[in-house]
Every structure is written in structure tokens, then in C-alpha cells.
Symmetry: C2
């Protein structure tokens, strides 16, 4: 049921059934397999997306083929909302493009497409969704700020250590567990951390040799969280 999925999405929480149904009536469901591109940054902007299952990466490619991952989107979350606000207030234009590429990282990745034109009409009459959207944007801005800080002010070792530290922190439970199972491939992790697979591999080995972690494929056990935290600073 579409409505049930929509209710779980951050920006729609707090809406009543009627409002949810209104949104459900304008959306389209899509399913992708691992490696499928959901959109390219060259395509005209149709609307934003919501993940309901699977995993999505948002990434850019340089002219010579290098890739950098900006976000990993796990359900239930939205992506590609930014172009909704190109010249908000004026007529929506057909010439807007997606700001980056999006690819499914797992088979059976389900997404919901919310068409821009119709959603914009709805948005202008609904202040609740608007506040949710600002909050979501604020969260994303914080993430990008942090991401830039990591990329520009820290070396690869610090970035890798910092990523692992963030992975074991479970903010809701207030507790940490010491084993990580990487959700994404090491190739993708390297592209997210602003490096290449070879360097990531060497860095993980170094952190292992120093006794902070133990690596076994995608499973990483944290042996010394305090030391790792210090290595990330």
C-alpha cells in the first residue's frame, strides 16, 4: 500500500490520512536492480524520489571517470528534492536537470517518484510539509558541511576512522556495539570517503595493524573504540 509507505517518510509524518491520500494519488512506484541508474544529472527534472526499500547512491562523475558519492540514501528517505525550489513562486520550468546521478545499490530497490509540478501546488497550500522539508534540508546541509570538513581538513586515515566511529554510534539507543557490517561495497565506500579502493584497503589494514579494528570482508570489529576515536581527530 502506497499510503503506508508514505507515512513512514520523514517529511510526511504528521500529515492526516486525507493529505497522505492526496499525495499517494499523484506518485508513481518504480523498482530497480543493483547497478541500475535511477536518473542521470543530464536528464530533465521530473520530480523527487522516496526510497522505501533497498539502497541508493547519489554521486558525481568527473570528466575522466572518477566517481564521488555525495550521499547514501537508505529507506525511508527522500532525495533530489532540491530542484523543486528552482525559482519557487515562478512557473516550474521543463529545463531543470537533476543535480547529480542516482543508482540503486541493491536488487529490488523500491522508490516512489513524486512529480514536481503537482507537488509544488500542494506545497504552497500546506505549511506542515514545508516545515518538514526545511528540517530535512537542514539535516542534509549539516551532513554536507560535515562531509566537506572531513574531505578538506582530514587525511584518509582520519576519514576512514571517523566513518567507522560514526557507524558504531547508535544515537537512539545511546549505546555502541562493536561490530559493523558495511552496507555498501568497499569500492563505494572509497568513493564516498574521497579516495580509491587501493588506498582504502591499505588504510583499513593500517588501522588493523595498529590494533584498533579487525577486518573480515565487510565485517569490521572495533577492538579499541577510544583509540579509533583519537585516530579520527
Amino acid at each position: 500500500m502506497i499510503s503506508d509507505n508514505l507515512k513512514k517518510v520523514y517529511i510526511f509524518s504528521g500529515l492526516n490520512d486525507d493529505e497522505i491520500d492526496r499525495i499517494a494519488s499523484i506518485v508513481k512506484l518504480k523498482t530497480f536492480n543493483k547497478g541500475d541508474n535511477i536518473f542521470f544529472d543530464t536528464e530533465p527534472y521530473l520530480g523527487f524520489y522516496i526510497t522505501t526499500a533497498g539502497l541508493v547512491k547519489i554521486y558525481k562523475i568527473s570528466k575522466d571517470g572518477r566517481e564521488h558519492i555525495l550521499h547514501i540514501i537508505a529507506p525511508p528517505n527522500t532525495f533530489a528534492e532540491v530542484p523543486l525550489f528552482e525559482n519557487f513562486g515562478e512557473e516550474f520550468e521543463e529545463t531543470y536537470r537533476y543535480p547529480a546521478n542516482a543508482m540503486a545499490l541493491e536488487d529490488d530497490t523500491h522508490v516512489i517518484l513524486v512529480p514536481a509540478r503537482k507537488f509544488r501546488q500542494l506545497l504552497e497550500s500546506d505549511t506542515k510539509i514545508c516545515i518538514k522539508l526545511v528540517s530535512g534540508f537542514a539535516r542534509r546541509l549539516r551532513h554536507l558541511n560535515h562531509h566537506i570538513e572531513e574531505l578538506t581538513l582530514k587525511d584518509v586515515t582520519k576519514r576512514v576512522a571517523g566513518y567507522l566511529i560514526k557507524e558504531i554510534a547508535e544515537p537512539e539507543k545511546g549505546q555502541t556495539h562493536s561490530e559493523i557490517s558495511l552496507a555498501i561495497s568497499k569500492n563505494d565506500l572509497a568513493a564516498y570517503l574521497g579516495t580509491i579502493p587501493e588506498t582504502l584497503s591499505r588504510t583499513l589494514k593500517k588501522l588493523q595493524d595498529e590494533g584498533y579494528i579487525e577486518v573480515d570482508g565487510r565485517k569490521i570489529v572495533i577492538k579499541d573504540a577510544a583509540g579509533l576515536r583519537a585516530a579520527a581527530m
Copy 2:
């Protein structure tokens, strides 16, 4: 007059005099000299700021003292709005911090402080400001996306060339003029472009030797815009 300044600010455009006055009544004016810090990322969050004169840099410092500039804020613009939306809906907490440092880059930099607590109340009742805020955030997200793309996928030469190209583009007039007068010091420009002054200096010289530009202090003349554009890709 405060109200006149407020009207010029993006997120408040479209508000009527009454609404502007309501905001004017809760703000505080401040003036800073070149080099003065407006806030540090260690300070408790009081509210967001609006520049009305001068120039402000938003930056981060690494543990070993390296600096990276995230944004250069020119009037009339807002900055540090993101923490407004920490857990929006719940009670505003006193423990929030500014997400980065801010410093005035010119003498007589005027800013307006809009206190968080009062503004949040106002925001919940006013959908127009909310939409403006989302739009402003969207613009900033686009900027950060672009910034990350530049930093991670391009070398210093491409970043410098790209910056110059962006400087000569005057979107409103649809025309380009070929002379740039840098608004910020080369030290700051280096920190913004993710490099250091020495490397920036060498890169500008290289671009000059290749015939694309002519550098004379803060004045840079574009001799070959097409070539420079190609060098930025």
C-alpha cells in the same frame, strides 16, 4: 532603518510591512571590524544572522590549524540558519552550537542577529517565510554540492580556472566582462578553493604563462575566456 534592510533580504521579500516590523522588533544590530569573529563553532547557538554591509566568511579549522572556507557571505544574505531546525517541533534547546566559525572580512561589517527562540515561534505561524527558507536552503545545498564536486573531482588548476569563470559570469546582464577584482584576499581564496596560498600563487602564474589571464595584485584580467573555460573542465 532596520526594516528597510530586512526587506532586501531574500527570505523576507514578499512580507508585508507589518510582518517586517514584527521581525525588526526582535532583532539586534551588530558591527564588526576586519578579522573580528562573529561566532565560533564552540559557542551556544543564539540565532541566525543577516549581513547588511561588509563581507563574512564561514569557515572550519582543523586540529592542526588549517582553515577551509565553506561560504563567503555578501549582503544582503543570511547565515547560520541551519541550527534553527534542530528537532523542529520540539522545544528549542540551549545546548545547540554554531555549525562553523564566522569572521568579518572587512571593516564596518554590519550584521543583524535574529534570535532563534522568538523566530521559531514566528515561523510556525508564517508559511511564506517558510517557503523562502526552503528556497534559500535549496540554493545553499546546490552550492555545497557544487563545492564538493569541485573539491573532490578536480585538481587545483581546474578549481582556480572554474572560480575565475564563475566570477566573470554576470547572470543578470547576460554579458561577461573580462576584468575581476577579487573581493577576498588570496589567502582566503586559497582556503576557499581547498588549497594553500603558495599553490594558488603558482597556479595563477601558470594560467598567466599559458595566456589565459593577466594577474596584477587583486586585479585579474581574462585574456582568453574560452581557453580558461576549457581549462576548468
